[in-house]
Amino acid sequence: MKKTIVWLLISVLSVALLITGCAQPSTPTPTATTSASPTPTPAETIKIGLQAPLTGNFAAEGQWAKQCVEVAADLINQKGGILGKKVEIVIADDGSNPKDSALAAQKLISQGLKEVIASYGSSVTAPAADLYDANKVVSVGYGCTAVRLTMEKQRPYFFRTAGRDDTQSEFFAKFAVEVLKAKRIAIMHDNQDYGKGVAEDAKKYLQPYIDKGECEIVYYDAITPGESDYSAVVSQIKEINPDVWFFTAYYPEAALLLKQARQAGVTCTFVGNNSVPTPEFEKIAGVDVIKGSIHLNEPMPQFLTTPEAKEFMEAYKAKYNELPGSIWAVYAADALNALAAAIEKAGSTDPDAVANAMRTMTDAKGITGPLMFTERGDRKNIPYYAYIYNEEGKLELYWPKD
């Protein structure tokens, strides 16, 4: 009889595992085709794919990416398109998870696309990038910053408009020690691809300072993402009382952690990495909690100063009455701009020619600055900034002020 209940438990748990798969809204919606111009005849358009997380955990990012890419496509089309042809964006939903990412990639590949924009989240992008690469499709990532995507194995057809995790980590080390003058540093990640990568690199770049005795790491551990109550780690941080608390994961956890920390009386400087400061973060945590917290980021949409940025933001605002919610979505638009420039330079959509053009182009202008890529597909010269939330809960530039 006792055995029966153990077996029952095992079977029930395995069934329970099954529902995780089904209960999430991860089924990719049928590929939607959005034409950027009113009536393009198929032969006259250049089709570019966009793989984005329209559902799942990163659904907000996916929606913003879609909107940004569509606005960028409109702008390109208003100026005469690419090689005299209109751009048409073909969208596939990757459901914010690696499994559906591969499905989405296959969907776009099977439609004969030669250039795609894909995708948000490093672990989501990796399987898709492999498929695109194997099928000779040029793919440009916009929200994937894991170092290994470009540095582990060479994918000749993979590029990204976003920086790498270690760009940010290097910036953090310098910023924390030289600007904030922090002696005792806490680093917290979420045990996932992205957050752990940033945390490990931060540790690596802090090492020279530690060797010189200028600072020490007093806490290095992970939280479990998706939970609601982080009081246990908050109590720990309170006990350790570091000068700087660097959190390297996503905004849903950051908002809860910071809120619970401030309620528990933790007063240390909170530094968030580049996926923390979003409108959702502000909404969940509230002004009282976020004020004074510092966040590292690529230039934020509202602080971009290039002429291309001005034009893009105006067009975006005219259509959606707000600015893009995150820089990643703007990088998606720049992925389209980079592809457009490369196709223009190559004179065709042939993937080999386009990939070559991506590596060699020097004069392509993007919303976030010049679009140039290294041999391995990384973007050259990504600027980095620290921003702070002021008393009204609005972001201000903190460092470097040029």
Binding site: A23, G56, A59, A60, D229, A232, S235
Partner: protein, 303 residues
């Protein structure tokens, strides 16, 4: 000692959420021998119901009745609403297949779970929703160095109080005796004149209502809700149910509180990254030594 006390308190709060949800699993299992997979999602639905009441009523409920009045209204509405939803689920998803045996019931429960969580997504959207800040009591109490939000304290007290009430009801009253008799042997209990239908209505109303209360409290404490909230809590609560001994009411409470405290202490003193590994290792170890859970022996005879 202070830090231990603080972590223990943290654990109790998390544990009281698990325990409240676990009670629902356990009550239904005890009477119907059914794992009600939809229970976690009813919990999430309760959280959204409370959210909706607070968002729609933030203008006047909070103004007229004060912040705590608003909380009380949201709690009552969610508990009533989800209690009724529990009855509806029983009527449309379980009663028709009850005679078909246990597997169809489990599948029906899974279907209900997916239906509810996707329904939440369709109505409220896939993105995080935030409880309106001005509807959440924001006071913080300080005991020396330990700071605790009032809402956290209220959560703890109300849920422990409610658990005690349910315990008293089931263990000490005549109606509770009927519930226990039904759990032990339904046929004999029916022969003794116990109305089986009444007992089922009771567990399918009270279980989800407790879940809804936990849901609203989760929203008030953490401010952030999402459609698959029921999954995260459901799995932990289910674990707590097994840990304590399924079908056993004090077992569900003890299992929930123990799970919360274990999580909190391990995360606080050893490592957050290894928390789940540790907690589930303990669960497996306990099940090897006591396959029926910490205090669940009656069920083993029955199954």
């Amino acid at each position: 000692m202070r830090i231990f006390l603080e972590q223990f308190l943290n654990g109790l709060t998390i544990g009281s959420f698990y325990a409240l949800v676990a009670l629902g699993y356990s009550m239904v299992y005890g009477v119907m021998k059914l794992i009600n997979f939809a229970h976690g999602d009813l919990f999430a639905l309760g959280s959204y119901l409370g959210y909706t009441v607070l968002v729609i009523g933030a203008g006047w409920i909070t103004q007229v009745l004060g912040v705590w009045g608003g909380v009380a209204v949201a709690l009552t509405a969610a508990m009533l609403g989800i209690g009724i939803a529990g009855l509806v689920v029983e009527r449309i998803a379980y009663r028709p297949v009850y005679k078909a045996g246990r597997l169809p019931l489990v599948v029906s429960a899974l279907g209900m779970s997916i239906f509810i969580s996707n329904g939440i997504m369709a109505i409220w959207g896939p993105r995080f929703q935030a409880y309106p800040p001005d509807a959440i009591p924001s006071a913080i109490l300080s005991f020396g160095d330990i700071k605790i939000t009032v809402i956290k304290l209220v959560t703890l007290i109300v849920s422990l109080g409610l658990m005690a009430l349910i315990y008293w009801m089931v263990e000490k009253t005549l109606f509770g005796a009927a519930v226990r008799a039904t759990a032990l042997d339904r046929d004999t209990a029916t022969l003794m004149g116990i109305d089986f239908r009444k007992i089922i209505l009771f567990v399918f109303f009270v279980g989800p209502a407790l879940g809804a209360m936990a849901g609203v409290f989760a929203g008030l404490n953490y401010g952030r809700i999402i459609f698959n909230l029921g999954w995260t809590y459901g799995l932990k609560a289910f674990t707590a149910t097994i840990l304590g001994g399924i079908g056993n009411i004090p077992g569900a409470m003890i299992g929930g509180l123990l799970l919360g405290v274990m999580e909190s202490l391990f995360e606080g003193f050893v490592s957050g990254a290894w928390k789940s590994v540790f907690v589930f290792l303990v669960l497996i170890a306990i099940l090897i030594v006591r396959p029926t859970g910490l205090i669940g022996e009656k069920v083993a005879e029955k199954v």
